[in-house]
């Protein structure tokens, strides 16, 4: 561990590599986490199949790429396909559990996650695959820092998508309806908003965002039917840390998690990369608990 720290001190340029990699992956984490924040905040559904939707988006991209379509064009396809998928899932499953207690929706989405992972395994096979963009890798600082062009492209795409979603939420009627429902579903109903339709749209939108994140992840990393759970965990850590309804916080937490993973992987070793994510979740929960306890005392 000390060796690795001294390595960072000797070659500070390595920090740039770690920060860049953290930035690139943090952006995709933030995207998937924002979808979760939406569903969680608006519908109070903790969507445990978030990561599996990401992987599904990735597989759509990979399948297209294997059939000669450039993976970047997989992005709109994955978004539309997952939007439709989310719509159907809402009608079949989510609308039945949304009014029930927390545990029911947790179980339902957890079950859905298992079914999705196994179905993808049957349909796409268990191989670890990746969508090759064919882009070059640039080297900086005598080859000590490398930047794959696809990572830059995916960062820009993630930023564009995030901007579109923000504008949509602020400006469009549906966006306003979603925000109104999130604030107070009963009041929104009184005001004539069809909350069921809002829920349905929100869930489908979340799935579409996951599809986009999956497309980007399949281009910069590797995917496999059973990789979903790690993406779910990441999304949960980010949303728990940032809180829902706070897009800026989600983006910040996304990048923070990206950096944390890279640095822990470098300093402590890859074996602690995931442990760091889960460890951060515990810390975040403890801090939140203390904050809330203080808040409660203040209220009393």
């Amino acid at each position: 561990m000390l060796d690795n720290l001294s390595l960072l001190a000797q070659a500070p340029v390595l920090n740039i590599q770690l920060l860049l990699d953290g930035l690139f992956i943090g952006a995709t984490f933030a995207l998937a986490a924002y979808g979760l924040a939406l569903v969680w905040g608006v519908m109070n559904v903790k969507n445990l199949c978030q990561g599996d939707m990401v992987i599904l988006g990735g597989f759509i991209t990979v399948t297209l790429a294997h059939n000669g379509i450039h993976p970047i064009f997989g992005l709109p396809v994955a978004i539309v396909a997952l939007f439709v998928y989310g719509w159907i899932v809402y009608r079949l499953i989510i609308c039945r559990v949304i009014e029930r207690d927390l545990f029911t929706s947790l179980l339902a989405t957890f079950g859905l996650a298992i079914v999705m992972a196994q179905s993808m395994n049957l349909i796409f096979g268990p191989e670890v695959t990746t969508a090759d963009s064919g882009f070059e890798t640039r080297t900086l600082f005598d080859g000590l820092v490398t930047v794959a062009e696809i990572k830059v492209v995916s960062l820009l795409l993630a930023a564009t998508l995030a901007t579109i979603v923000i504008v949509f939420m602020k400006r469009s009627r549906m966006g306003q309806a979603i925000r109104a429902t999130a604030q107070d579903a009963r009041a929104a109903r009184v005001m004539g908003i069809d909350t069921d339709r809002v829920y349905q749209f929100t869930y489908a939108l979340n799935a579409a965002i996951c599809g986009a994140a999956g497309c980007l992840i399949s281009m910069i990393w590797t995917i496999q039917p059973f990789f979903g759970i790690t993406h779910s965990i990441r999304a949960f850590v980010i949303v728990t840390a940032a809180g829902f309804g706070n897009l800026f916080g989600v983006i910040l937490a996304g990048f923070g998690l990206g950096f944390a993973e890279q640095y822990s992987g470098f300093v402590l070793g890859a074996q602690f990369q995931q442990a760091t994510v889960v460890g951060l979740l515990v810390i975040v929960l403890v801090v939140r608990q203390i904050q809330q306890a203080r808040h409660r005392r203040a209220v009393i």
Binding site: L7, G125, V128, L144, I220, W221, T222, Q271, Q273
Partner: protein, 414 residues
Amino acid sequence: MKQTFTFKRVGCIAASAVALAFAATSHAKVDGDTIILGAAISLTGKYSSNGVNAKNGYDLAVKRINEMGGVKVGGKSYKLSVVYYDDESTPARGAQLAERLIQQDGVKFMLGPYSSGLTKAIAPVTEKYKIPMVEAEGASRSLFTQGYRYMFAVLSTSEQYLGSAIDLKAEMFEKMGKKPSDVKVAMVFENDPFSLDVRAGCVEDIKRHGMKIVVDDKMPRDLNDISATLTKVKALKPDLLLISGHEKGATTATRQMKDMKVSAPMIGITHCESGKVVEQFGGAADGFLCPTQWDETLTYKGQYFGTAADYDKAAKAAYPQYKVVPYQMAQATAAVLVWKDAFERANDFDTEKLRDALAATDMETFYGKVKFSTAGNNVAKPMVLRQIQGGKYKVVAPTKWASAPLIYPRKAGN
């Protein structure tokens, strides 16, 4: 009248009871002229690609043996058949299914599952019931230090996987007039029983040569990112990079080494074939040293499939989806051949006699020689090291079977 009716009913019940009794024994050890073998295998879940490879290997052997006259025991000819259950790539399920095969289905002769983890879960069950098992896909060294009596493995054990790459590296350094003790080694291994056993073997060899370990990272099972580790590799410039983490490790490492332009003069990496590194990354995988249990260019020969090359042809004819026949399939076939040989030598279906016959196995197959140590592992067949050269797998070590010279230092293509 009423009485006859009752008689009829009793008859009916008796008949169904007999039928039930037959149904219950229909899967027993030997059913008529068929010997039933049992296997829990990963048909779904994360190991299912190699699970299916293993099943194909078992099936091909069963088909060939049956076509060539079956198994002769006590002057009678028997056909072979295998009962499969899907273990879903989870050890707990594997152990449950082994119980089910032995307890409910009455299977007395077992074939192994895929992966060391599953074998580790199933072996205690077969030992408990004293049911002999010939396994072909569990290479972990730790499987053979438990004192198991009824488990036999046709493959070479895990510590030999990357050992020859380390020896080769030392040899290269000596040739260049440098000391092997100056070699810097970076190691990336998955945190699972098999990969950690490969690592343990490597550490021993590295110590023997007095080499230095500069990176020693372990990948968690679900992680698909080792870029931080590769940044370290890039900065420390090791002379030898060793990677093992099943298909996921091979694919993730190749993908990220390509993206980050990370290389080393020598790279040893397991599961290149099943990770499809050549198909997915082309030239970026050139120069990798990939250990294999078996290669179709080896000069092994046996009664049932002829030479290794003949087996390769037969396998491709039966399963046209294979461009390269995975060694996982070849060794599964070898396990069935070992069973057949043991049945004929024991000339009996008694499990104890069969166990002794298995322990005394000394045969030649297309997969190599099979002779078990007292621990149950095959000690007669060495591990082979292949190098990817221009997208083709070429045997480079041991020199006896080398089909091409080693390209050193490694040159990655495009």
